[in-house]
Amino acid sequence: MEQLNFEEFYRNSRDACLRAVLVGTGNPHLAEDLVAEAYAQAWSAWRKVRAHPAPLAWVVRTALNTHVSWWRRRRREVALAGQDAEGHQQTQGIDPALMAAVRRLPRRQREVVALRVFLDLDTETTAKTLGIAPGTVTAHLARAVATLRSDLATAITQEGQP
């Protein structure tokens, strides 16, 4: 019963969490691994997470926290055959101009946007989730939206040019 409950939670919330983490990290390739890891943690502590006032926020917060140190300690990539260490990054199904604009935002602004836009959290809950003041959330959001609007307008103008 408990597992069914978790599975339903996962199926209903996974896409929203993935989109939030994708925006929060700016990394389409890590996002799914991070979210999967966060859900696994949620299942291992399901009674606690289920009772959380905002379980989706818990998952996204966990994934974003994990992102800070997880990748380096989880695996290390090296280049062989005369190649560089960094893998080629691909973005599938996401507007590249939008992703580029998101990546240019400071981390905190990305996280605020992620929680407000994709989890529909209010200012208070966003502030609690990120451990910052509500006023800071409002300020981050306003700056992020202004930057995104400007960047996207530029991208649209450039696309329209011959």
Binding site: E7, A40, W43, S44, R74, R75, L80, I94, L148
Partner: protein, 195 residues
């Protein structure tokens, strides 16, 4: 503000989580099991039980002194400080079984695969303390230093190595990927290059 939010939401509509719930549940269950084991071990120590350690038996992950193996595709050298230096030669396809057995002699359990890339079903912290890598000065080798003593108990190194001609149309520049996994865990493997 809403116009920007709408654009973002629309742009992400095609983004979906593909990880099956069964994999999530299995990873969560493994995590829970490990937590229980750790608590049980802690309780045994707290209860004043003596954990008997046979000091005469070989220590796990203790490299024998002076192991030096030099082959065309790789070399393995144990160092005085207990670390082990592994040098892989670019453009050379190595035999994974030979590298595994050589690493085992150096006190490093390993699962080496060619053109198959695996990851542990659970996150194992501390890999940055286990392994460091750097390019050799001549650019023909990749040199890694592994500290077997830093490997969490019951873990092994997992490595996926891409041969020079593998998936030539794939633009990824990845040559090899290394990580940690618990011995006995079922690895999540793919012949696709890791993202």
């Amino acid at each position: 503000m809403n116009d920007v939010f709408d654009i973002m939401r629309e742009s992400m509509e095609g983004v979906h989580m593909h990880t099956p719930v069964e994999r999530i549940v299995a990873a969560g269950r493994a995590r829970r099991r490990r937590k229980v084991t750790a608590i049980a071990a802690g309780a045994a120590v707290a209860g004043g039980l003596t954990l008997a350690v046979a000091t005469s038996s070989p220590q796990v992950n203790a490299p024998p002194a002076g192991l030096h193996v030099q082959l065309a595709a790789f070399s393995v050298d144990s160092n005085a400080d207990g670390t082990v230096t592994v040098k892989l030669t670019k453009e050379q396809t190595l035999d994974p079984a030979t590298l595994e057995s050589t690493l085992a002699q150096a006190g490093i359990p390993a699962d080496i695969r060619i053109n198959e890339f695996c990851q542990s079903p659970v996150d194992i912290p501390g890999f940055d303390k286990v392994m460091s890598s750097s390019k050799d000065e001549d650019g023909r080798h990749v040199v890694m230093t592994i500290d077997p003593a830093a490997m969490p108990a019951g873990t092994k190194i997992i490595a996926g190595i891409r041969t020079p001609g593998y998936l030539p149309d794939n633009p990824s520049k990845l040559g090899a990927v290394f990580g940690l996994a618990h011995v006995g865990d079922t690895l999540q493997c793919s012949t696709e290059l890791p993202r």
